[in-house]
């Protein structure tokens, strides 16, 4: 029997090549998209689950709030770890570490010298918490001595080739010699942080600090099975109150309880390890994390596209009913029961979805690199070794076969043979309400996606073009200038000799950087809670000119005024927050450290507010400090005025080479660096654009198929109308209108839907574009035009046909 089904199905496909192709290809495109996104979602959700006790590992974070500024970060203070281990029995193991990213040490072994960004310094318990099978060495003792270091297998290869790394000595920053005591496998990609080296934290004096106020360490702990994170957090607060309270009292002269009463906060919280990658977006994250909302958004889109593809399938199959009605009638007359017919059609739909899945796999394979590029660096889809792929495919096969096949199967098998054999298709020929509904659904989805794409792109455009209060174009940023040390001064002077270079400036931190330093300031005379936590930037006197920032009053730092080291320049927001009416010349106090040391500084000037962070954030209070004549930061910004960039670069590089003694010349353009703040939006925009295109393509394929059938079914009517004098225009309008009405209806549903969704999306931005009604109109018109083009091809063809042929038929 199945052989018979198979033959009928295959020959049917061959007979209707075009339509079968539309059905299968549309389905495959939808499925491919589904496969890619499912793998993406699985990948994102599987982060950090490879550690043995992953479910019980937590990271300690801090919420600190002082007046207008709140700091929430994944960091904690030095003595916290030991206190927790001592006082909270539920804590099974705890580790602190620091390093990574900032201050990458230069590692030397014989002639091999590299700057290593993924170099961490950790407590000996590191490999107890983040357990890994050691390739060489003993995890229990690997970090027990202050001069120990463990490295990954790829680092072992990089520095030692095939030699045994154990017992070898590497050197960092020409300062420390470290003994290699272990080799571990490379950290899996699906981790929220990746280390190449883990050295003993004990080498740093600050690891023994007793200050509960400076939060410079990442602390992770393992709770005992069954222990509650909430209870642990509560105990943590008690420990903090007991230890940090006196230190705060000393620093601010206010008691802990008074401080809290004034609205200040200082408490630690626990983040589950497995939540970090998708749900933690704090300052000082170890690496850029993924985003659960992206996973949701994409999953939603994938499900939508899957439905679109199924809808197409159902629509095309039931539309084809008219042509298959006779076959069904015959089969019934000959003796087929309804059950057999249902089985036959389910078999056919499964066959179609099987072919579609094969095609989808090929498509997914081909599109994988493209998708990975779109999805961004930390979202990779790998096919090899993904144990989920096969179950997903099987599930898709069964699901799509059923979803797409069940309605046509029951619908087709219900035909009454006495009628269909006589060619009385009655209800079958007429417009199907369901089919119309499905077309409306498809276009609603497509139009919503188009609107979403337009809004996101508009917001991106808005962000890239909004006046930021400084000039981001024509600025080159030379990186790693702290390697030059005091030579930076000479470097700047020589660059300024170039007539194409307008201004240069070195600074610690630049606009748009994800992390900033901060300082506590107080206004004398206001005691107790009159403390303010401001973002802080250290720059030289050239900064204002280099970035074209405007003064509101007073002056910026001047080159040879040593006294400016005791000065500060605030932005307008900072002045407003402090409530100063005549700020220039006033003295305020800067807290130097936790011991209560402080220094008086004078407000030299006020700069106009500018966006020193991305447009996600509102403008916050900012304090500028001068670096002094010999100061140097990690970057030197160069404002230039030339279109001949290569010549400029060559000249700067020449100067660099001379001063930097072999260090590589690294640079980027500031506007690109700043734009990186919107990478996530840009990725989303690109992916959404791709999905909208796919959705509209699938919807159009479906429409094309439906239009083909509609015109086929109405050939006789068209013939009669033509004989009676209808023109081609009349007829194609008659045939197209039905579909266009559906697309119009889809617009009416899609607009409020898109408005709702995009309004929510835009709320993430402190500065955002408006939801322009024109975007909605544009999307609607776009969908209408595409639908019209799709349908009219068929309509015009049918309308132009010779009526004699159509009337002779049947």
């Amino acid at each position: 029997m199945f052989k018979n089904y198979l033959k009928a199905a295959l020959r049917n496909m061959r007979l209707h090549k075009g339509l079968s192709f539309i059905t299968i290809f549309g389905f495959a495109a939808g499925l491919a998209c589904c496969i890619l996104i499912t793998l993406f979602a699985i990948d994102q959700l599987s982060f950090d689950r490879h550690y043995a006790r992953a479910e019980r590992i937590y990271r300690v974070g801090i919420v600190g709030s002082l007046n207008s500024k709140t700091f929430i970060g994944p960091v904690s203070c030095a003595p916290l770890a030991e206190a927790m281990e001592r006082e909270i029995p539920d804590v099974e193991s705890v580790v602190r570490f620091s390093g990574g990213g900032r201050g990458a040490p230069v590692v030397r072994y014989k002639d091999k010298v590299f700057s290593e960004e993924r170099f961490y310094w950790a407590d000996p318990t590191f490999f107890d918490v983040f357990s890994v099978p050691f390739i060489k060495g003993d995890p229990r003792t690997a970090l027990s001595q202050a001069n120990n270091v463990v490295l990954t297998s790829s680092m072992a290869r990089k520095y030692f080739g095939s030699a045994n790394p154990l017992g070898k000595i590497i050197n960092t920053d020409n300062r420390r010699d470290l003994l290699v005591t272990g080799v571990v496998p490379d950290v899996p990609r699906q981790s929220h942080f990746h280390y190449d080296f883990v050295g003993s934290l004990a080498v740093f004096e600050n690891s023994r600090s007793t200050s509960w106020i400076g939060n410079n360490f990442y602390t992770y702990l393992v709770l005992r099975p069954g222990a509650s994170a909430a209870a642990t957090e509560a105990k943590l607060q008690e420990i903090v109150r007991r230890n940090a309270g006196p230190q705060f009292q000393q620093m601010f002269g206010v008691s802990w309880d008074q401080l809290l009463k004034s609205g200040a906060q200082y408490r630690y919280f626990l983040q589950p390890l497995t939540d970090i990658h998708l749900r933690s977006h704090l300052e000082y994250e170890l690496e850029a994390n993924g985003d659960i909302s992206t996973v949701y958004l994409f999953s939603l889109v994938a499900f939508g596209v899957f439905l679109l593809a199924c809808v197409n399938f159902v629509n095309l199959t039931t539309a084809r009913a008219a042509t298959r009605a006779r076959e069904i009638g015959i089969r019934k007359a000959i003796g087929s029961g309804r059950g057999q017919l249902i089985r036959q059609f389910l078999f056919e739909s499964s066959l179609t979805s099987f072919l579609a899945i094969l095609l989808a796999l090929v498509l997914a394979m081909l599109l994988r690199p493209f998708f990975n590029r779109l999805a961004g660096a930390n979202a990779q889809i790998t096919v090899q070794g993904n144990p989920w792929l096969l179950p997903i495919l099987l599930a898709l096969l069964v699901l799509s076969g059923l979803v797409a096949g069940i309605y046509p199967a029951f619908y087709l098998s219900s035909f009454r043979p006495a009628q269909v054999l006589k060619g009385q298709l009655g209800g079958i020929k007429g417009k199907s309400f369901l089919r119309s509904l499905l077309v409306v659904f498809q276009f609603t989805l497509s139009i919503t996606l188009i609107i979403g794409t337009l809004v996101i792109n508009r917001q991106l455009h808005y962000m890239q073009n909004k006046k930021l209060g400084f000039s981001k174009d024509q600025v080159l940023v030379v990186k790693k200038t702290d390697d030059l040390g005091k030579q930076v001064r000479t470097f700047k002077q020589e660059l300024l000799a170039n007539p194409k270079i307008m201004a240069v400036s070195t600074s610690a931190g630049l606009m748009g950087d994800p992390t900033f330093g901060d300082n506590v300031y107080t206004v004398p005379g206001v005691s107790g809670v009159g403390q303010y936590l401001f973002w802080t930037m250290y720059a030289d006197e050239g900064f204002l000119r280099t970035y074209d920032i405007q003064m509101a009053s007073g002056r910026f730092f001047e080159k040879d005024r040593q006294s400016d080291l005791q000065g500060v320049v605030l932005n307008e927001t900072a002045v407003k927050v402090m409530g100063l009416s005549d700020p220039v010349g006033r003295e305020i106090v800067q807290m130097i450290d936790q011991s209560g040391k402080q220094t008086k500084i004078t407000i030299l000037g006020v700069i106009k507010d500018f966006h020193f962070q991305s447009l996600h954030e509102e403008i916050r209070p900012l304090a500028f400090h001068w670096m002094g004549p010999d100061g140097f930061g990690k970057t030197v910004s160069v404002r230039f005025r030339t279109t001949n960039i290569p010549v400029l670069l060559k000249s700067i590089e020449k100067t660099w080479k001379r001063l930097a003694k072999g260090q590589a010349f690294e640079y980027e353009f500031f506007d690109e660096r700043f734009a990186a703040n919107y990478n996530s939006e840009q990725n989303t925009a690109r992916l959404l654009t791709a999905f909208s295109l796919l959705a509209i393509a699938i919807a159009c394929l479906g429409l094309l198929g439906l239009a083909t059938f509609a015109t086929q079914q109405r050939t006789k009517e068209i013939g009669i109308r033509k004989v009676l004098g209808a023109s081609v225009l009349n007829l194609s309008r008659l045939l197209s209108n039905e579909f266009l009405k559906l697309v119009l209806l889809a617009n009416l549903i899609a607009w409020p839907l898109a408005y709702f969704v995009m309004n929510r999306w835009l709320r993430d931005f402190a500065y955002r574009t408006s939801l322009d009604i024109r975007l909605f109109l544009l999307s609607g018109v776009l969908a209408l035009i595409i639908a019209m083009l799709t349908v009219s091809y068929q309509s015009i063809r049918a309308a132009r046909a010779n009526p004699v042929n159509s009337l002779r038929n049947e």
Binding site: N4, K7, A8, A333, I334, G335, G337, R338, R416, P417
Partner: protein, 229 residues
């Protein structure tokens, strides 16, 4: 084999009630060859559909091979139909996607006949119908007469007790029409019961009895002389 009592068929649309058959009392004995004649729209095909269990009557009784079937569900009708009735249509109604062999084989597949026996039965009937050379052809590759021969073969292959033919010669020229009629009459002589709808007075001569329908009523029943011994 067939007995109807006061059979009625009424089609209702939203506005109109059309009575297609009214008070039909018809008996067909086993081995009989009955022709049904009448003008277009008189209810011939409706009657044939009901007799063939493709449709249910609105009122009245229908006894088929000992069962009262007028209230049978679609499922029950399908069961009874596939075991007992073969159809021949005016427009052949072969499945375009299947070959000659596969078309003929289809009823046996639905009867779940084993593959060896199936093949034998199909080849037997094909041989008889001289269709062996056309075994792997598709319906569109055959002439009308050949297609109708395939349809007859398909109707026969499961050895049904009753063959229902709805204007089997309607789409054929006279030569092919004659050939099909000879086939039917040969089947009849071998004992098969046949009920045939036709417009052609000449072909109605092949039947033992001619039932004339007009506006849903049986108006006359004639017995052909040549069958009266």
């Amino acid at each position: 084999m067939i007995q109807t009592k006061n059979l009625k068929k009424i089609y209702t649309t939203e506005e109109v009630e059309t009575s297609a058959l009214n008070q039909i009392n018809l008996t067909v004995k086993e081995g009989e060859f009955v022709a049904i004649m009448g003008p277009s729209g008189c209810g011939k095909s409706t009657l044939l559909n009901i007799l063939g269990l493709l449709d249910n009557p609105s009122e009245g009784e229908y006894h088929f091979v000992g069962h009262e079937v007028s209230k049978f569900s679609e499922r029950q009708r399908a069961q009874l139909r596939k075991a007992n009735i073969g159809f021949v249509f005016q427009s052949f109604n072969l499945i375009d996607e299947l070959t000659v062999f596969e078309n003929i084989e289809l009823p046996l597949l639905y009867l779940k006949v084993g593959s060896g026996e199936r093949k034998k039965k199909v080849l037997d009937v094909m041989e008889r119908m001289q269709l062996i050379p056309r075994k792997n052809h598709f319906p569109q590759q055959l002439s009308g007469g050949q297609q109708q021969r395939v349809a007859v073969a398909r109707a026969l292959v499961a050895r049904p007790k009753l063959i229902l033919a709805d204007e089997p010669t309607g789409n054929l020229d006279s030569a092919n029409g004659d050939e099909v009629m000879n086939l039917l009459s040969q089947l009849h002589s071998e004992g098969t019961t046949i009920v045939m709808v036709t417009h052609s007075p000449a072909y109605s001569e092949f039947a033992q009895r001619v039932v004339h329908l007009f506006d849903g009523h049986i108006v006359t029943e004639n017995f052909n002389q040549k069958f009266h011994v």
